[in-house]
Each structure stands twice: as structure tokens, then as C-alpha cells.
Amino acid sequence: MNYTLKRFEKFFSFESINIRIVLLTAFISYLLQINAIISGEPLYLIAFYTLLPWIPLCLFEGIWKVQNYAAVALLGLFTILQIGHFAEHLIQVLQIELGNGTVACPPPIDNAVNAARGVALGLRDAALAPSFYSVESIIKPGAGGQPILGPDGTLVSGPAACAVFGQLDLEIVHLVWELFGLFGTAFVLYYFRKNIFLWIAFAGLCWHALEHLTITYFYYFDQEQLWDGFRQLWATYPAQGNSYVAHAAGQEAAKLNFYEAGGKFGLMAKHGMFEQLTGFSGMPGRAHLHMGYNLFITIPTVLGFLWEFRTISNKYIQMAFSGLSKNDIAKLTQEVRISKFGKGDIVFNQGDIADKCYIISRGKVDVIIQGSSGSENVIAQLGVGQIFGEIGILDQDNSRRTATIRATTRLECLEINAETLKDLASDSGGRFSSEETKSQLIDLVLERKDDLLSKAQ
């Protein structure tokens, strides 16, 4: 349990970014959020401004995690995106069920046409220019597109049931997001082909892709207007701050294309193809059905990620200690610390006390020994996946650094402390049990000591 928590803590933290930058970003995010709230911005903009400063940070951290943890990190990224996607669908359903939400997505905009209707209905001042904000609330339309009255005679209003970022509730966005999930899951399945949870998610994604490809085809390519119908009209006006309301303002007769007439419901939703062809009338509405689809995809994605996460390991440790078991590499991954150096920095000097060793995860170093006359001799260059600093820890005759290490480029290393390295090289049943790793380390120490002796002469 301890290791599991440690793994979570490590993976879901900013490992590659200085804590000061993280704190600064949090502060900026907080300021933007407060400013948006005080300015009376709608919820979607408050959420947007809050998240905005985190985007570049998460991008850089995400790239670093993929470089170090490979496919597990990618799977983690997809898992987070799927959870966010599902959350949007869930919020939409809650808006419908609990909030008298109206499904008008993307939400009506306070544009010139809608604002003019607002003026005509006496709902807003004519001098107030259209703001082009998306509305947050909708006065629910009933028969004839006019507002419904509740049991107490007041207008029934609720949120625009389009989740938080309703402006993204567009067919092309649904399709692109869905295909991104499908291809992304297929990509990680290449690395985790025995993960049954991911196969289940993949099956769900294939079916979901079928729905959205069909709907999007009709949306873009079938424009023949053959059906008589109507379009809902809205009158928009400001509520509070920059929050706007769309008041149901009747309907206009229109000729509708296939999508508008009924194709938008897709294959399996209420009023969709299945109900039309079979006469069955018990299917859930599109919003509820697609929330269900996303649940069917997200749960196995999360389980699939947790399954692989049990043995998440740093690929540079795998490169350095190929003899260790998958579980031992996963354990060692939790014990290392990241250290960074600039170009030209000295990692340690010849003669320093040896208390840790390093595996290079980015960059290169020069191994330098100082002659008796004080001259410097570069005797080797080490790169990604190679270990240095081990001699001073493992050599029983000498506990001091045998060479100076200087970074020749920007350098990033995984630090292993002396106790852990000794455990790796121990034959008395330590935490990491691998004969191969023990021999590998001992051979490395002997080889490098010989090399040092020959080059020092």
C-alpha cells in the first residue's frame, strides 16, 4: 500500500519542474480566477482562466513523463483526458436532470440578432451592445417555442445543458475527440496488448466512433432540406455581470436537412435509427446515452491504467540495470530523485566523499582526472542510460570520488543514494535481488578502476 501511494504521489506530481515555478503558476491561476469571478464572468470563462496558466506546465511535465515512463505515461494522459471527457458528459446529464437544463448546444450567443429580440421583448436596454458571450441560463421553451410556466406561474429557467465548456459541444469536436481516444488507445494497446481492460475500452471506442462518424457525416454532407420543422428563436439579455440569459422567443418555420430533422440523434439514442426502424421507444436520450458510452470507455481505461501503473518504471533505470526484474525496477523508480545541472556545472569533484551515484537521463558528462601537476585529463564521456559515481560507493578500498564529473550539456540525472546502490550490489538478500545486476555493477567498478589506473599513468 505504501509503495502504491508513493507511486501515485510521484507520478501525479511535477517531477521535472521546479517547485517555485509550480507555486508561481498556482498563484497566477488563483489571481486569474479571482479576477474572472469579480468581473462577473460566466462559469466557463472562470474555468478557462483558472486552467490557462497550467497548460504549458502540464505540457512540459507530460513530455518529460513520456520520455521517462514511456507508454505508461501516455496511457496516464489518455486516462486523464477520458475522465475529463466523461465529467463533461456527466455534468450535462446532471444539468438536465437536476437543474431544468435545456439542451441547446452550443449555447445561444448574445449576438446582434438575439440581442435585438431581447430589445423587442423589452428584456434589455437598446443601448446595450451585443456582448457575444454564450448564455449560461435558458428560459425553457415549451409549445410553439414560447416560455414554459411553472406550477407557481413563474418562468421555468435552468442552465444551458452543455456542461462546462459548452462552446465545444460541436459535432466536429465530438468526432475529433473520439478518434483521438480511439487511435490513442490503439497506440497504447501496442505496448500493453495483454491488458484486457484496454481492449474493452477499445471496443467501446469503436462503437462510439461509429455513432459519431454517422452523425458527423449527416451534419456536413447531407444538406438537402426535405422536412418541415422549426428553429427555436432566442432573445438574450444580461443577468448579472457577464452572465447572459436566453429567453425562449418563439419559433420560425424552416426546412430542415436530415441532421436537423432527426439524424442528430444518431443510431441508438431516443428518436434515433434503432427506434425508427424497430418501433421500440425505450432508448435513452442522446445526452444520457453518450454519457453511458463514455462511462463504458472511461472505467476500463482507468482500470487498465491502474493495472499497468503497478509496475511503472523509469526507462533510464531499465537501460542502466537491465538485469533487474520488472518489480525491482518499479521499486527502484520510486527511490530515485531527479537532479539537474547546467552546461559546464561540476556534478562532483575528484576527492569528494561518495554518497550517491547517478544515471544520466538527459545530456552528457566528461569524466576528468587531475594529474599530479594539476592538469586535467578527460578520460571518458558518458551519455544517456549510463551510470557514474558508483566506484566511490562500492569500492571497499576507497570511499572518495575517483574523478571529477562535469556536465558538457544541460544535464538531468536520476540520483541513487549509497544505501540503495549497495543493496543492488549486495549478495546478502537485500531489497533488490538480482545476481546479474550485482555482477554487472562489480564488473563495472573493476573495469572503470583499471581504466582510471591506466589513464592516470
Partner: protein, 68 residues
């Protein structure tokens, strides 16, 4: 070139926000006269999409199972 590749999808998405008169997704009742026959007329489209998704699935499964 790289900037264009990054900008183009964002611009396409952003342009959609101005299509304010397009019918809202998944709202409202069925239009009058829209029913079984309308879908039967489009079965070839649905069939085409089913074939496309089936082919894509097979392709992806083969790529997944391809030995490294």
C-alpha cells in the same frame, strides 16, 4: 510550417463558434414526417460507415498485434 500545422485545427474549431444559426445538437423533437423511411433511405450511408469502422478496427487490431 509547424506553426501552421498547430494553428489550422484551432482556427477550424474557432470558426465553428460563429455558426450561430446552425441547429443545436441533439435538441428538439423530430421533424414532421421524419421517421422510418428517412432512415431506410440512408441505410447505404450507415452501411458505408459500418464498413469503414470495421476496416479501421481490423487495421488497428492487426497493427496492435504486430510483433515488435
Amino acid at each position: 510550417m509547424r506553426t501552421a500545422l498547430l494553428l489550422i485545427p484551432n482556427l477550424v474549431l474557432a470558426s465553428q463558434l460563429f455558426w450561430t444559426n446552425v441547429a443545436s445538437a441533439a435538441s428538439g423533437p423530430l421533424a414532421e414526417g421524419f421517421g422510418r423511411d428517412a432512415w431506410l433511405d440512408k441505410l447505404h450511408v450507415v452501411g458505408g460507415v459500418v464498413l469503414l469502422v470495421a476496416a479501421l478496427t481490423v487495421f488497428l487490431v492487426l497493427m496492435i498485434l504486430k510483433s515488435r
